[in-house]
């Protein structure tokens, strides 16, 4: 029984991590080209190879996912809200940016 439970847990974990990897690639694509305008035009993020300088460097800011999602939805300062993105897209971006910048909690 224990073995089976362990195996099941392992499968769940594997599934979770593959979902997360998929989200990362969606998030990365949004960051680099799919969002309008793409985040990387303004923000530097080493993991994405972007070097935009008009907005703060995300490698320096290291925002957590919650902060990224909040700013994408509502805007902050000079950055407009990205109202056209779906909740799923916002989540994918938030996960990607927080992990790639080192800000994930």
């Amino acid at each position: 029984m224990k073995k089976l439970a362990g195996l099941a847990a392992g499968l769940v974990l594997a599934a979770a991590s593959s979902v997360s990897a998929a989200d990362d690639s969606v998030g990365k694509r949004l960051f680099m080209q799919d969002a309008t305008p793409p985040c990387g035009v303004c923000h530097a993020l080493n993991a994405a190879g972007t070097a935009g300088t008009i907005g703060p460097s995300l490698d320096e800011m290291k925002p957590d996912a919650e902060r990224v999602a909040r700013v994408i939805r509502s805007g902050l300062g000079a950055m407009p809200a990205y109202a056209q993105l779906t909740d799923q897209q916002v989540q994918a971006l938030a996960q990607y940016v927080s992990k790639a910048s080192g800000g994930a909690k």
Partner: protein, 406 residues
């Protein structure tokens, strides 16, 4: 910092297609994330490179674009030195190369009878003046509202008293034949390079103020006796004394007298006094002039307990568009007030004045407050009504300092 925007964009585009195909990237990213110590965020952030010359011990780094003067770092000698002055940039500053030849910086002047592009050298031939002024971020005091607005949680340190050197804007307008008929606003445009792919109006720093501000406005190239540091808007900054920070456009490249306010987002929907929970709209009051305000700099909050006995309670008081005429200080949380004395030079209507009250404090906890009145009789409000973006907090109650005497 110095990476040209074009290069950034090219790198972005070039790496785009290749990186998306690489399935391993997500895994690599996670490894990097795990390697980064999560505690790093809790430690004090270092000064951003473009302001690395600031006095680190006097500053609080909130973000690359927002750096605050510590409450305890104002001192008692009136002027705020450049290396302790706050930073608030809406956009990252232009490349530092723009100050390599300051006199060659160009300003387009429009909405006058003879529109022209002038260099800083040209401007220096048209007039000269010096202008002391409280430079204060629109959001100074946001972090002292009991309601929370998003944005940097400034306390008192997004403000300073500086002296600008430059040419009165009136002299420039007169030299170009005067303001064209029917113009109601002065509109300044910042020189930050907006990358391709972004609607410029969505991020450009372009602000309009009522044309009445022309009277004392300045095009400044000096601050506190030196060329304006690049981080503070050099080679050329538009100054409207009495108006909050955002209206004083850095790296100004275009100055226009206009019939209407600019349609830039920073004017239309940002920097408006918006009811809590609402969204900015051009019909709402713009964040323009500052009001009557004072606060105590010493004793500053968060210091070690004071010894019982005499304390010099001192701070600064301003009237925005008018000089401060009177300051009262309370040591009992606003129940009773006593007149404080002004000390130090009086630098005119747009500067702050220093005030002091000597008081004997007994062991215990004390709530110290200050309340200013300007030359027009406007009294500093007890509470500034909260607005959605947390702008222009001047309430004396929110600025009280709690001290312990033991």
């Amino acid at each position: 910092m110095s990476t040209p925007t074009d290069l950034g964009r090219r790198r972005l585009l070039a790496s785009g297609t290749a990186a998306i195909a690489a399935a391993g990237i997500g895994g690599a990213t996670r490894a990097v994330a795990q390697a980064a110590p999560p505690a790093a965020a809790a430690q004090a952030k270092p000064l951003p490179a473009y302001v690395s010359w600031k006095d680190a011990d006097s500053m609080i780094v909130h973000s690359p674009n927002t750096v605050e003067t510590r409450w305890s770092a104002f001192g008692s000698s009136l002027i705020t030195p450049a290396d302790r002055l706050y930073i608030r940039n809406n956009l990252a500053p232009p490349d530092v190369s723009i100050v390599a030849n300051r006199d060659a910086w160009q300003l387009a002047v429009e909405g006058v009878k003879q529109p022209r592009t002038l260099t800083v050298a040209d401007l220096k031939s048209l007039g000269v003046d010096a202008l002391p002024m409280v430079l204060q971020c629109s959001g100074n005091g946001r972090g002292l509202f009991s309601d929370k607005a998003s944005g940097t949680q400034w306390k008192v340190g997004a403000a300073g008293l500086v002296i600008w050197g430059g040419v009165p804007l009136r002299a420039v307008a007169e030299a170009l034949g005067g303001v064209a008929p029917g113009m109601r606003f002065v509109t300044g445009t910042g020189g930050e390079a907006i990358p391709a792919g972004i609607d410029p109006k969505s991020v450009i720093v372009e602000r309009s103020v009522p044309i009445s501000a022309l009277e004392d406005a300045m095009l400044a190239w000096e601050m506190n006796g030196e060329p304006i540091p690049h981080a503070h808007g050099g080679p050329l900054r538009l100054i409207f004394p009495g108006y909050s920070g955002v209206n004083n456009v850095k790296y100004i490249k275009r100055l226009a007298f206009t019939r209407d306010e600019t349609d830039a987002r920073i004017q239309q929907t940002r920097y408006r006094i918006v009811p809590p929970g609402g969204k900015g709209h051009p019909s709402m009051p713009a964040v323009w002039t500052m009001g009557t305000k004072s606060w105590i700099n010493s004793p500053a909050p968060g210091q070690r307990p004071l010894r019982p006995g005499w304390v010099q309670i001192h701070g600064v008081a301003m009237g925005g568009m008018n000089a401060a005429r009177r300051v009262e200080v309370s040591i009992d949380g606003g129940k009773t007030w006593r007149d404080a004395a002004f000390f130090g030079p009086n630098l005119g209507r747009y500067a702050w004045r220093q005030f002091v009250l000597q008081a004997q404090l007994r062991p215990g906890t004390h709530q110290l407050a200050s309340r200013a009145t300007d030359t027009q009789g406007n009294v500093q409000e007890e509470r500034t009504p909260f607005n959605a973006s947390g702008y222009l907090n001047a309430g004396w109650r929110a600025h009280m300092v709690q001290v312990t005497v033991a």
